[in-house]
C-alpha cells in the first residue's frame, strides 16, 4: 500500500466501490479499503434494487442477478393484497441481486480502472492537521501505517465511525434504526417473479416483513422493525421465526444475516475539510423501503466527481467539496428521500384497521408503475372520507 493517494475510500460496499471506480476513471490515484476479509461477505441486505438505478451504473449480468422481478404484492394486516405489476413499457420493478458477486464485480471494476484495493484493512484513526482531514491511519492484517489523501470518502456503512471521529455526529436515533433479520430460505413454494411485503402490527410493527424471490424455490425472508420496538420475546428475530413457522415451516434456512437500517433523515452535512460521506454512512437510505444500494452508488459517483474537480483546482476544503452535498440533496434522489421520509412518518402512525381500509380501497387495481408516488396518489383519490388523515400525505407529495 502506498502512503499517499488522491482519494482514500473507506468501505468496499457498492457506494465505496463506485466512488473508487469513478475516481480512478477520472485519472486520480485511489485506494479502497475494506475491513472485512472479503468483499461482499457477509453482506447485510435484502438485495433488491430498481432496474433503472442499476443500469445507470452497469449492465445486468446473470452472474449476480438472482431474480428478475415482474410484480410486487403488498399484503395488508387482514390479508388484503395490493398487486403492483410491471408495465409493458418497462416501468421499473427490480432485480434481486446476489450481493456476494455484485459487490465483487463493482470492486473489480474499480480495480480494473486503476484503484488499489485492500481487504482486511480498516481505518483506525483520522489524520487531522490544522483541522483538515489528511487521510487515515489504517491497520492492514495487523500492520499499521499512515495513508495520506487529499480527499477521504467515508463509505463505512450503517455502523459508520469514521465521520464521527472527524467530529460529525452520525448516530442513528434508536426509534429510526430498523432492526433487521433475514433468512435465505430454500425449498419453499413462492412466486419466483414477485417481491412480497407484509404489513401489520402482528407481523412487523411499524415496519414490514419481506419475501424477495431469489430463484424458483428460494427467497430472502426478512423483517425490519424499529429498534425501539424490540422487546424480550418480541424482537425482530422472534417476529420472523413466527412468520416462518406459519408460512414456510419446511423451508431450509441456509443463511441468516442481521443488521441495522437507518430510516432517519440523512445527516445534516455530508462534507467537511477533506472529507466526504456517502451511502448508508450518510444515511441516504429510502425511509420507506429501507433500500440503500442505488443511493449509495449515486452518492459514491457524485462524491468522486466533485472530489476530482476539487483536487484539480487544488482546493479540497469544505467549501470546495460542498457542491456534492448541494447536488445530491437537489437531485431526484434527495427529493425522494425527503418525500418518502414524510410518507413513512404517516404510515407508521396508522392502525391496522386504517391500513386494512386503505388496502381494501385499492386492492383491485393493477398498478402500472411501481412507485411510492403512484401508490399514495391512488390512496388519496380513493379515500375521500379519510382526506383529513391523508392531508399529511398529500402535503408530502407537494415537495
Amino acid at each position: 500500500m502506498k502512503s499517499e493517494y488522491d482519494v482514500l475510500v473507506i468501505g468496499g460496499g457498492p457506494g465505496g466501490a463506485v466512488a473508487a471506480w469513478t475516481a480512478a476513471r477520472k485519472g486520480l490515484s485511489a485506494c479502497l479499503i475494506e475491513k472485512r476479509p472479503a468483499i461482499g461477505a457477509p453482506v447485510r441486505c435484502a438485495e433488491g434494487i430498481g432496474k433503472k438505478l442499476l443500469t445507470d451504473f452497469l449492465e445486468p449480468d446473470p452472474r449476480w442477478i438472482s431474480a428478475d422481478i415482474k410484480r410486487a404484492r403488498i399484503v395488508a394486516p387482514d390479508g388484503t393484497q395490493i398487486q403492483l405489476k410491471e408495465d409493458l413499457a418497462g416501468a421499473e420493478v427490480g432485480y434481486v441481486l446476489d450481493r456476494k458477486f455484485f459487490d465483487r464485480e463493482l470492486v473489480w471494476k474499480a480495480s480494473e480502472a486503476g484503484a488499489d484495493v485492500f481487504v482486511k484493512t480498516r481505518a483506525v484513526e483520522p489524520i487531522i492537521e490544522d483541522g483538515i482531514l489528511k487521510g487515515a491511519v489504517v491497520e492492514s492484517c495487523g500492520r499499521r501505517q499512515e495513508v495520506r489523501a487529499q480527499v477521504t470518502i467515508a463509505a463505512d456503512g450503517v455502523e459508520s465511525k469514521f465521520a464521527r471521529w472527524c467530529g460529525i455526529e452520525t448516530a442513528v436515533p434508536v426509534q429510526e434504526l430498523m432492526s433487521c433479520v433475514q433468512y435465505l430460505v430454500t425449498d419453499i413454494d413462492i412466486d419466483p417473479a414477485s417481491n412480497d411485503f407484509y404489513l401489520g402490527n402482528e407481523v412487523a410493527p411499524q415496519g414490514y416483513l419481506w419475501v424477495f424471490a431469489k430463484g424458483e424455490r428460494s427467497a430472502n425472508v426478512g423483517i425490519g422493525i424499529p429498534a425501539s420496538k424490540n422487546m424480550p420475546g418480541n424482537r425482530a428475530k422472534d417476529y420472523l421465526d413466527r412468520f416462518m413457522a406459519e408460512h414456510f415451516p419446511d423451508g431450509k434456512i441456509i443463511e441468516c444475516i442481521f443488521g441495522g437500517d437507518p430510516v432517519c433523515r440523512p445527516i445534516d452535512c455530508t462534507v467537511s475539510d477533506g472529507l466526504m460521506i456517502i451511502g448508508d454512512a450518510a444515511r441516504v437510505v429510502d425511509p420507506i423501503t429501507g433500500g440503500g444500494i442505488g443511493n449509495a452508488m449515486i452518492t459514491g459517483r457524485l462524491a468522486a466527481e466533485v472530489a476530482a474537480k476539487a483536487i484539480a483546482a487544488g482546493d479540497t476544503s469544505k467549501a470546495a467539496l460542498m457542491p456534492y452535498d448541494v447536488e445530491w440533496r437537489a437531485s431526484k434522489m434527495g427529493q425522494n428521500l425527503e418525500r418518502n421520509y414524510k410518507v413513512k412518518e404517516f404510515f407508521i402512525k396508522l392502525s391496522d384497521e386504517k391500513m386494512n381500509d386503505l388496502a381494501d380501497s385499492i386492492a383491485n387495481i393493477d398498478f402500472a408503475e411501481f412507485s411510492v408516488k403512484a401508490l399514495v396518489l391512488e390512496l388519496i383519490k380513493r379515500n375521500p372520507k379519510m382526506l383529513f388523515e391523508l392531508r399529511e400525505l398529500k402535503d408530502a407529495l407537494k415537495h
Partner: protein
C-alpha cells in the same frame, strides 16, 4: 456494565450505529465495547435484533 452475549451476537453493527457515545465497534467483524467510554445507557440493547446485549447492574 455492558455484556455481549457472543453466542447470540451476529456482529451486524446495529448497536454500533445507535451508540450515542461511540463506545461500540466492529473490529475484524468482532463486536467490542470500550468500557471507558460506555455509559451503560442500554440504547444498544434495544437496537440488537437478536437480544445479544444486556446491561448488568453491578452492586
Amino acid at each position: 456494565m455492558l455484556n455481549i452475549r457472543r453466542e447470540i451476537c451476529g456482529y451486524c453493527g446495529a448497536c454500533v450505529s445507535v451508540c450515542p457515545e461511540g463506545a461500540l465497534e466492529l473490529i475484524d467483524a468482532y463486536l467490542t465495547v470500550d468500557s471507558e467510554t460506555c455509559i451503560n445507557c442500554g440504547i444498544c440493547t434495544k437496537a440488537c435484533p437478536l437480544g445479544a446485549l444486556e446491561v448488568i447492574n453491578e452492586v
